[in-house]
Subunit: 212 residues, 2 copies
DNA sequence: CTGGAAATTGAGGATGACCTCAACTTAGCA
DNA sequence: TGCTAAGTTGAGGTCATCCTCAATTTCCAG
């Protein structure tokens, strides 16, 4: 039923999507839409015709990228070494956002989740649960680590990536090294505060967060 | 020579300073100046008369706060246990920015450093050098930790503080627990990337950083 | 008390982003 | 080849912030 679209309109839609992917990838999710229109070689009016709200771009762009997360999780779960699998997943997740400012924003904020994105996120958490469980059972991941601890971890890494992009784009690997060393069972010392609850995590996902 | 200022002008200046401290503390360094003027009960023109540039507020406000850092460092250096001193310093530093959105911004960004602030920062690094040195010599802090690693650490914590302020204002303590566990000598595994150099760190301090 | 220097005021110009819509252009069917 | 619905256009309204400056008010020294 969307087949009845005119050819030029379809072309413009694609150009907009390409431009949006590029612009959001470079400048983040708050990039001006006029820049997207400009880069697509299309007027701002046409942009709003195809994507009435900024969120519509996100819904069109990110599901495909989030598929990469699923693949990452599968590879990680296939690793015979549970700790290596866990570590590889975390590192892979951070590496993905290091190369994509838009994805970085998605992970960094109390994210602007919609429909399909929400599901992808749910799947991500499910995968993560299994990875964490497996790594804990193997005795290599500290027992008091919880899946929800991944959220602050992503916040942290996202900021490091943003700040260091220009002057030292690899530092995040070093910092992640420190953190992972702190997550090994042998390193564990008692923690002063309980992990975020499911409800708290959910709170970050719909509540709009203040910019920085 | 600034003695020749009129009494009302001095009063207004103080009101502006108080208002600015409050507003920047709540909303961060990008808070609208009109809000500062409004809260000071003064017109926007007067604000610009006293503080022609936003930076002038920072220069007037932050040196006093940075004195707290010096005190913190002294306490930490006085601790007979070098590791405890180091850990207390880090925790104190993070705690300070947890209570002050403005200070958080100062630490989080490729900061907007000026004159006096720059010096305070230098002092901070000098203190930190000694704390790190001492903790390493005691064999409790991992040998490959460098003073400049503190910069990404502050970036990381600042983001966690910002994101969690509303829904779980204590999570940062938990995450810092993980990180500190990773900094203990016993936890160390080889790192994939060298620390930031002095020059790189300096690069963050003048280069204006993009907002978030 | 008073004159003039010092300070204050706030309307308004500049900027950059958002979004709309009436007028125009064009694809594609008959 | 028209003709029309689908699509495009971009000037311009809205909004939030920045910053300026001519007119006005206030302080205080003489």
């Amino acid at each position: 039923m969307p087949k009845t679209r005119r050819a030029d309109a379809a072309r413009n839609r694609d150009k907009l999507l390409d431009a949006a992917a590029a612009v959001f990838g470079e400048r983040g999710l708050d990039a001006p839409l006029e820049e997207v229109a400009r880069r697509a070689g299309v007027s701002i009016g046409t942009l709003y015709n195809h994507f009435p709200a900024r969120q519509d771009f996100f819904d069109a762009i990110f599901p495909a990228r989030l598929a990469a997360l699923d693949r990452l999780a599968e590879t990680a779960l296939a690793d015979p070494d549970p700790w290596a699998g866990f570590a590889a997943y975390v590192e892979g997740l951070v590496a993905l956002q290091a190369g994509d400012r838009g994805l970085n924003d998605v992970l960094a904020r109390g994210f602007p989740l919609a429909s399909e994105l929400g599901e992808a996120c749910h799947r991500g958490f499910a995968h993560l649960d299994r990875l964490v469980e497996r790594a804990k059972e193997s005795g290599r991941l500290r027992g008091d680590f919880e899946t929800s601890d991944m959220v602050p971890l992503m916040w942290a890494m996202s900021q490091i990536i943003r700040e260091s992009k220009d002057a030292g784009p690899e530092v995040w690997r070093r910092f992640l090294g420190f953190v992972l060393d702190g997550l090994r069972a042998g390193a564990a010392h008692p923690l002063p505060v309980p992990a975020l609850s499911r409800e708290q995590v959910a709170g970050f996902m719909d509540g709009t967060s203040p910019g920085a």
